[in-house]
């Protein structure tokens, strides 16, 4: 039983490319290698000024990750995102409701 999830997370605008690559590799490894699920979309969504400061950061880059996976897999993703507190300022996991059933 898989479910379509959409994960939006914020990284600071001044983060180094290496640190971000490390994070994205971790996410990809967890989803694709460990759980064998599909990543449908993984891209930058926007560079934005944050509506309020988070940990003294004023600007952030939003990234979107769409995946079709089971609940254990999304728990792992959540674990990774919540562990990397310096890199990931906020994250939101949203279930995508598909109307066709």
């Amino acid at each position: 039983m898989t479910q379509l999830y959409e994960v939006l997370f914020i990284v600071p605008a001044d983060i180094s490319q290496e640190a971000f690559n490390e994070l994205s590799d971790k996410l990809k490894n967890s989803i694709e290698s460990k759980h064998g699920s599909k990543i449908l979309k993984f891209e930058k969504w926007a560079d934005r000024k944050l509506a309020y400061t988070i940990n003294d950061h004023k600007n952030g880059t939003y990234h979107i990750l769409e995946t079709d996976c089971n609940s254990e897999c999304i728990k792992d993703v959540e674990g990774i995102l919540s562990f990397e507190k310096t890199i990931v300022l906020r994250y939101l996991i949203d279930k995508v409701v598909t109307k066709e059933k």
Binding site: I10, A51, Y52, G60, L92
Partner: protein, 82 residues
């Protein structure tokens, strides 16, 4: 006669129509910040139904999407005085 007048009063009240902004295939989503800004007041509060013209179902959905957008720092919780 009196009966008729009451009937007229009842008829005058128009039925609630869905908010114009949500008509058609506009997607209500927390990432659609431009659309959501139409549903908040000057002080960044969630606007009441009498201002937005939402139906009850629409208003509930608008409110949850605004709250998601606030959490992701897309919309402010309060107005900052700086």
């Amino acid at each position: 006669m009196a009966e008729k007048r009451e009937f007229d009063k009842r008829e005058r009240r128009p039925r609630k129509r869905p908010a114009k902004l949500l008509e058609g295939d506009t997607k209500l989503n927390y990432k659609n910040v431009e659309l959501l800004t139409n549903f908040i007041t000057e002080r960044k509060k969630i606007a009441p139904r009498r201002m937005t013209g939402c139906t009850a179902i629409q208003q509930r959905r608008v409110a949850t999407e605004i709250k998601k957008a606030r959490y992701m720092a897309l919309l402010p919780y309060v107005v900052s005085h700086k």
